[in-house]
């Protein structure tokens, strides 16, 4: 370890260790700008250390000097002198050609609440306010149970069954819904604080918390004060946290609690986690469960949806689609057992552990493995005799790997066995039989959209798809195909074909980049021009605050391409919708719609955005929209249902939509600026705000029954420039010149020895 005595080696080691710590040990990861800042501080500290006295400094310089001067080190010298300009040049390139990132949002996570709020005509003093229900000690359990029902009917969609902010709608929102199990949320707040946040939601936040994109609605019109207190009691009961008390802590000044959103805590967990995984390998081996133990867990975690009797009729069930499983029939969709057979214990265990994608059933990994096996035992006990015989496993033919031939054969078989009848020609769940399908309980069911494998109930891998094809999804219209393909291995070919329709889930982004193009932009959504533009994917979720609410939105995402020219901006939107529908009172269908939402005071750098659900009375939004009844139009909205369409001359947008095989493609074009000062404008290089809303009229979606996204950014990219190709060589050349200067200095002995 003699080399460690070299000051130079020490300095390098210190820098490397510091970098590794800053980069990998801090969770969540800190932004690069922060890492750079920390590293600069460490560098200064290291330089101070090595230059503390002249011996030390000489020791530090020695290896550098010898590299520069000694003839024996010539190859190293040349290598270093070539490498440094290249690295610096590359760095210059990455900076000049940097991708645009959304502006960092610094905001008060827990801003100071107002002294008092008005709630349905009454004034509540937040400061010092306690949960009035806690005085009624005899009924605490009853209030918590009632709070749980309120939660499952209103909050679960975003905040999730596990209270971890990962509900089925969470993916559509940025910032994500609050995670109540995190020690940084309700555990450090008073109940009155929660009361204020629930009652007034995102729109009620003070200025210091802006820009705030919270989609949290104001629940004051939907829930009574008592309801809110009950749900608060449920939150603390379910997470095991205690609310903070007024006596013990005066509310700290908000400035003390301001933190960067991405800021995190230093932790060594990253070291411990992999170790822990090695020490405790997951044992998924089947265990005999104890139904009595399972009952205890069931009543805590499952009953609200699946019901006390296991019949799928819990208090949360009416809002859900697909409906929670009715355990009394012993009929299950996702199985590895043959058609007509009950599932194996492992099948049930897997569904409990991994959840059902695309439904409100989450992955219950928070429940211990033993308890999950206990749940399996309890759930089976609802079905009387269905589980008396051990289920027969479905036999799958030998796996066929995906290949061009296999996919071609799969397509041929897909057509021969007429998968399109339900799933549609392109697999988007738009087949002619799709609207009529019901399950064995008489509930309408939608065939899977095969281009969204991440939503397959039993998983999207080839093996999982092949198993579903072989066994069918019992209780649904999906039949078993194992005896109904030409050769058994066709099951694998069809599975490979289904996989080829969409290999992976799209990445969702937060910035929609509009590219600069020269000349005219085609109106036709099917024009080849659009295929060349990179899409940005945005996720959509249901609207659940204004009646009628939409718990099961039909449209869960939209892919957007944006381009602009000197005069125009154009948006190309692609989304799946199983039916083309128009307003038809007889058929109970409505117009299909898509809307882009902008703040009405647009074109300004965003600091204050209107509330994402069409704004409010003081902060309106502008909608660029298309409906299957009326085509492209524009409107101003002051809240949901308060929409004023612009009249003929005021509408500047034009566009066109095409519908084929369960998919819409739409182009909306608009002048980038108009003379009117208050109008929508699209300047280059600024972070503008945009949000999306969609309606599937064929599924009964209209007005407030819609899906929507939170606010995202729209940025018109500066036209492509030569900068990324000019700057790096210049920087590299300058570096070479600097190197030569240092080299000459060293040769002349200016560094002294």
């Amino acid at each position: 370890m003699s080399w460690l005595r070299s000051k130079f080696a020490q300095a390098v080691l210190a820098l490397v260790v510091a970098f590794v710590l800053f980069r990998f040990a801090i969770r969540p990861p800190v932004p690069w700008t922060v890492v750079t800042l920390y590293m600069a501080i460490v560098l200064v500290a290291v330089l101070v250390y090595v230059s503390s006295d002249s011996d030390s400094w000489r020791n530090f310089l020695a290896p550098i000097r010898s590299t520069l001067v000694e003839d024996s080190k010539r190859p190293v010298r040349v290598g270093v002198m070539v490498l440094i300009p290249l690295v610096v040049g590359y760095y210059a390139y990455t900076q000049a050609a940097a991708r645009i990132e959304a502006p960092a949002e610094l905001r008060a996570i827990h801003p100071a609440p107002p002294a008092s709020i008005s709630f349905s005509g009454k004034t509540f003093d937040i400061q010092g306010l306690d949960n009035p229900l806690r005085k009624d000690a005899a009924n605490l359990g009853k209030y918590v149970a009632e709070g749980a029902v309120i939660y499952i009917k209103n909050c679960v969609y975003c905040h999730g069954d596990n209270l971890d902010g990962a509900g089925p709608f969470a993916h559509a929102f940025s910032p994500p819904p609050a995670n109540f199990t995190d020690a940084g949320t309700i555990a450090m707040l008073q109940e009155a604080y929660l009361f204020w946040r629930i009652a007034k939601g995102g729109p009620g936040l003070p200025k210091e918390s802006k820009p705030w994109n919270s989609v949290m609605p104001a629940w004051e019109d939907k829930l009574s004060a008592e309801d809110i207190w009950k749900v608060i009691m449920f939150l603390y009961d379910a997470t095991g946290y205690q609310p903070r008390r007024w006596e013990s802590h005066a509310a700290p000044a908000p400035s003390q609690r301001v933190g960067a959103r991405s800021g995190g805590a230093f932790s060594l967990a990253f070291l411990a986690a992999p170790l822990g995984r090695v020490l405790a390998p997951p044992t998924e081996a089947q265990q005999p469960g104890d139904a009595a133990q399972g009952k205890v867990i069931y009543e805590k975690k499952c009953l609200l949806c699946h019901g006390e009797k296991g019949d799928g009729n819990g208090p949360g069930a009416p809002m859900l689609d697909p409906k929670p499983r009715d355990f009394t029939k012993g009929r299950y969709k996702v199985r590895t057992s043959a058609s007509g057979q009950p599932p194996t214990d492992s099948d049930l265990f897997r569904v409990i552990s991994d959840g059902m994608p695309g439904t409100s059933m989450p992955a219950w990994k928070v429940i211990s493995e033993t308890d999950r096996w206990n749940l399996v035992a309890y759930v089976k006990s609802f079905a009387g005799g269905a589980f008396t015989i051990a289920p027969k496993a479905a036999e799958l033919p030998k796996e066929v790997a995906a290949s061009k031939d296999s996919i071609a054969r799969g397509k041929e078989m897909f057509e021969a066995i007429e998968c399109n009848k339900c799933h549609g020609n392109a697999g988007r769940g738009d087949g002619p039989s799709a609207p009529e399908l019901t399950d064995d309980w008489g509930n309408p069911v939608r065939p899977a959209n095969l281009t969204k494998p991440w939503l397959f109930r039993g998983g999207g891998s080839s093996r999982q798809v092949a198993t579903r094809l072989a066994t069918g999804l019992m209780g649904t219209p999906m039949p078993a195909f194992i005896d109904s393909v030409e050769k058994p291995e066709d099951i694998w070919h069809v599975a490979n074909y289904v996989q080829s329709l969409r290999p992976s889930k799209p990445d969702y982004v937060t910035v929609l980049q509009a590219r600069a193009v020269a000349g005219g932009i085609p109106d036709d959504p099917a024009a080849p021009f659009w295929a060349q533009q990179p899409p940005a994917n945005f996720s959509l979720a249901g609207q659940v605050i204004v009646d009628p609410r939409n718990f099961n939105p039909s449209i869960d995402g939209v892919a957007v391409q944006a381009v602009y020219s000197d005069t125009e901006i154009a948006f190309h939107l692609t989304w799946d919708d199983p039916t083309f529908s128009k307003s038809d009172p007889k058929a109970k269908t409505f117009a299909d719609q898509m809307a882009l939402q902008f703040p009405a005071k647009a074109g300004k750098e965003e600091t204050e955005r209107p509330y994402v659900l069409m704004g409010d009375g003081s902060n309106p939004v502008t909608l660029l929209r298309w409906t299957s009844d009326e085509g492209v139009g524009e409107a101003t909205a002051w809240g949901i249902g308060k929409i004023t369409p612009k009249l003929a001359d005021a509408v500047k947008a034009v566009g066109k939509a095409v519908f084929a095989d369960g998919r819409y493609r739409l182009v909306i074009k608009r002048p980038r600026a108009t003379k009117d000062h208050d109008e929508l404008a699209f300047p280059v290089g600024r972070f503008l705000s945009v949000a999306f809303m969609a309606w599937d009229g064929g599924a009964g979606e209209t007005e407030s029954r819609m899906s929507f996204s939170s606010w995202y950014f729209l940025r018109l990219e500066e036209p492509a420039s030569a900068t990324p190709y000019i700057v790096p060589p210049v920087v590299a050349l300058l570096t070479v010149a600097l190197e030569l200067l240092v080299f000459r200095g060293a040769r002349r002995g200016a560094w002294g020895e």
Binding site: E418, D440, P479
Partner: protein
């Protein structure tokens, strides 16, 4: 000794009585029940579904076969059975066949003995799926694509099973798995006949898919048919 003989005799007699309820009854000793199932009231106009797929095979319209009323208000497709009859159902002379033709189940109601193989045909040359809504037997949902002309299935437990095809939502049928030999299906004029009924008082039950169940007491005499008329209507 005598006691044993009498016990044995009594046993034989009892066995004979039980067997008497089945086909073992000699023809001259048995009676029969003939009758009619009638629709009471004004028969409803059949529901008509507009066909929106496979029109070349299925046609453009499908009339519901739920309630078929013939001449003299005779109700077709009602299942008449003797309550409490014993014994296994006889093996049918021909394998029971359920066809899917013109996008309907033919016959609309099929009565089969428990445990018999049933041939399910696809005469249409398009995809059907045979989907049973059953509880006693395993719930069946198998695809039958165009190239799968015949599928053979067995239904072991007596049950009245609803049949559907999810591809064609109007397709509906019934499979009645017999518990014993005494079953009859009413024909287009509503007529039915139960043969080989042992003499005595019997309860006769009629079941119809939408009009429900009804029972009547019938006195059967050897060698002569007893008459019974059921009137079913919307409740």
């Amino acid at each position: 000794m005598l006691k044993w003989v009498s016990v044995l005799c009594a046993g034989v007699l009892a066995a004979a009585l039980i067997a008497g309820a089945s086909t073992l009854v000699a023809a001259q000793d048995a009676g029969s029940i003939v009758g009619e199932v009638k629709f009471s009231g004004t028969p409803p106009a059949p529901k008509v579904t507009k066909v929106n797929k496979d029109n070349q095979v299925c046609g453009d319209e499908k009339r519901s076969e739920e309630v078929i009323v013939g001449a003299n208000k005779g109700l077709q497709n009602a299942v008449v059975s003797l309550v409490g009859a014993k014994g296994p159902a006889p093996k049918p002379a021909r394998k029971p066949v359920l066809d899917q033709k013109g996008c309907v189940f033919a016959p609309h109601v099929l009565v089969v003995p428990a445990g018999a193989d049933v041939d399910i045909l696809n005469s249409d040359g398009i995809l059907h799926n045979i989907h049973t809504v059953s509880t006693a037997n395993p719930s069946l949902n198998k695809a039958q694509p165009k190239f799968k002309k015949v599928m053979t299935e067995k239904f072991d437990k007596p049950e009245t099973i609803q049949l559907r095809c999810d591809v064609h939502s109007w397709m509906a049928g019934w499979l009645v798995v017999q518990a014993h030999p005494q079953y009859a299906l009413s024909d287009a004029s509503g007529a039915f006949k139960l043969d080989n009924v042992p003499p005595g008082k019997h309860k006769v039950e009629v079941w119809h898919e939408t009009l429900g169940k009804m029972t009547q007491e019938v006195e059967v005499k050897a060698g002569a048919p007893s008459k019974v008329t059921f009137e079913l209507g919307k409740k």
